[in-house]
Amino acid sequence: MTTIGVDAPGAADSWEDKDRYVPPPEATRPPKKGFVPPWRNPWRRPYVLATVTWGYILWSLVPVLIAVQFSFNDSRSRSSWNGFTFEWYCCGTKPGSIAEGSSVFGSGADDALLLALQNSLTLGVITTLIAVPIGTALALGLTRWRSRTSNVANAVSLFPLVTPELVLGSALYLVISTLYTQIGLGRNALILGHVTFSISFILVIVRGRLVSIGSEFETAAQDLGATRMQAIRTVLLPMLIPAIFASAMITFAASLDDFVVSNFLFGDASQITVPVLLYSAVKAAPSPNLNALATILLMGTMGALLLTYLVLRLRRRGEGGSALDDLAGIEM
């Protein structure tokens, strides 16, 4: 997942519905005089654009639904439908079962699939635990510390966002296999790589929030007798929690989703992650158990997303605006 860094301070304000186009009430519309061709009628419904939009949405999501469908295929084919079975998910125990020795869970499972799932989840959790504190501290430091050095640090910290993963992946691969040899390819290399690309977008998310908060609240707290540390701890950090929480969820999702960096750094099959496994298996001998694995991953991500949405909505209660806009804003 590529996450993008457009600084959009104060964007939350302008995304409220106050600027939205509201059609003028019936009475103020010009009286209809005979036939008005659609291109001369600014109040016509945007049928063409609506069609394009819904067409795009169908095109972008239906293939994924088809992939989910084929995780239930009662055949080894990933493209020709042959009826429903649940065996690719669990328990291809019976000899002669379509998924013998290759379902995701249960006895008769293909251990490589479960291992990849475990590896991906562990990696995601560790990456989040390391990257979020570092990224948040970096955001605080770089936003409030104004000097020439901080400007350089600022520029350096934005570069990973715009560097293609291929460049980052091959650079880390080369440096780990020649200079940082004691790290070695595998779990440690994966953690280092994932944290590296996560720090920058945590920085962007948290800093966006910091800029929109401004420094008034801290100053007020200090005027009321709090020390600077107290002001940060009791005033600033609580206000930052939604941004920190959101960046944690995004870090986790991005780690789960990452393919390029992982593919360079995973080392041997014992550390393989789900995307890397999907990639290598599609090239070798694909069967619907890949679809089942991908579907499980999809459910996991959707669960995390739903959780984020609900938490954001809980926090937004009474503040107006929608949590969905918050999510869209986060990805900026």
Partner: protein, 305 residues
């Protein structure tokens, strides 16, 4: 009493003076060690002249010992030789995919940001959804559909045409797969910019007599220029460095892109030097885009401050 309080406060301020820099230190150090140094490592490998026993280049960490033979060779091969077709494919496919992204992505972003009313939340959720679906999963879906017995050939067969070997190295499949992969990342940033355009600007244009088309080209498009460029850069950067999309839907030498050459040579060991040189060339091309993008974002954040 008051004096001691002021003194403690002064001491605490001194203690917190280094607070912000020290908060920034771990992150900066991490990025230096694992982003700046590795990038320098690419140069050290690309400009190395010595090979180890395995025939792999030994990185030349000292810039005074840099040797540009391999790099020169790779540039030669890129202009007139083995890497030429890879570069051509990269530029042509990316340009075509980008054109489709603009033609489809702009209307979608515009509709969701400015025209959709009742179901805007739903549309936004559906447009954000692909962001959260694993890229490999989405590509895997297409590999299934485009397989010999897949739905695509069912449709083709239904209209009475002969089956198409979609996954056998067709350039248009690669382009469509790239569009499919990256269009969501194009639409969302553009949506954010279009959403911020003040409706009164558009109404003013209408009031002053411009029709819908004129309003679009004279008002909406210029106001969304930065958003459009940002979206294009954001989409172009990963497309240039993409190799897995190509491998999954084609895996044929007839559609090879620079990313494929890089992946193959970096991991092979023998041609690491060539791979590193290609990464440097790719980075040089992308640096133009990146610099532009960074200037744009910095300028935008400064204006907002």
């Amino acid at each position: 009493m008051a004096v001691t309080e002021a003194a403690t406060e002064g001491r605490k301020d001194a203690a917190t003076r280094f607070l912000w820099p020290s908060l920034a230190v771990p992150g900066t150090a991490w990025l230096v060690a694992l982003f700046v140094v590795p990038f320098y490592g690419i140069m050290a490998v690309a400009f190395s002249s010595q090979l180890n026993i395995l025939g792999q280049p030994i990185p030349a960490w000292n810039p005074l010992k840099w040797d540009f033979t391999v790099m020169g060779n790779v540039i030669d091969q890129s202009i007139n030789g083995t890497y030429r077709s890879a570069w051509e494919h990269t530029f042509i496919y990316t340009a075509m995919a980008m054109a489709v992204c603009v033609l489809v992505g702009y209307p979608v972003a515009y509709y969701v940001a400015r025209l959709a009313r009742g179901n805007r939340g739903l549309l936004l959720a559906l447009i954000l959804a692909p962001w959260w679906i694993n890229y490999l999963t989405r590509m895997l879906a297409w590999v299934g559909i485009l397989g010999d017995e897949g739905y695509a050939n069912d449709i083709v067969g239904f209209f009475g045409f002969t089956k198409v070997d979609w996954l056998g190295g067709q350039w248009y499949v690669v382009v469509i797969a790239l569009v499919y992969g990256y269009l969501p990342f194009f639409i969302v940033p553009l949506y954010a910019y279009l959403d911020r355009i003040d409706q009164s600007m558009i109404e003013a244009s209408r009031d002053l007599g411009a029709n819908t088309i004129r309003t679009f080209f004279r008002v909406t498009l210029p106001l969304s220029r930065i958003g459009l460029i940002t979206a294009m850069v954001i989409t172009a950067l990963p497309m240039f460095g993409d190799y897995y999309t190509n491998t999954l839907v084609s895996n044929s030498p007839t559609t090879v892109m620079v990313g494929n050459s890089i992946e193959k040579s970096i991991q092979s060991g023998f041609s690491r030097g060539q791979g590193a040189s290609l990464v440097l060339m790719l980075s040089a091309v992308l640096l133009i885009f990146m610099a532009y993008y960074l200037i744009l974002t910095v300028r935008a954040s400064r204006e907002a401050r």
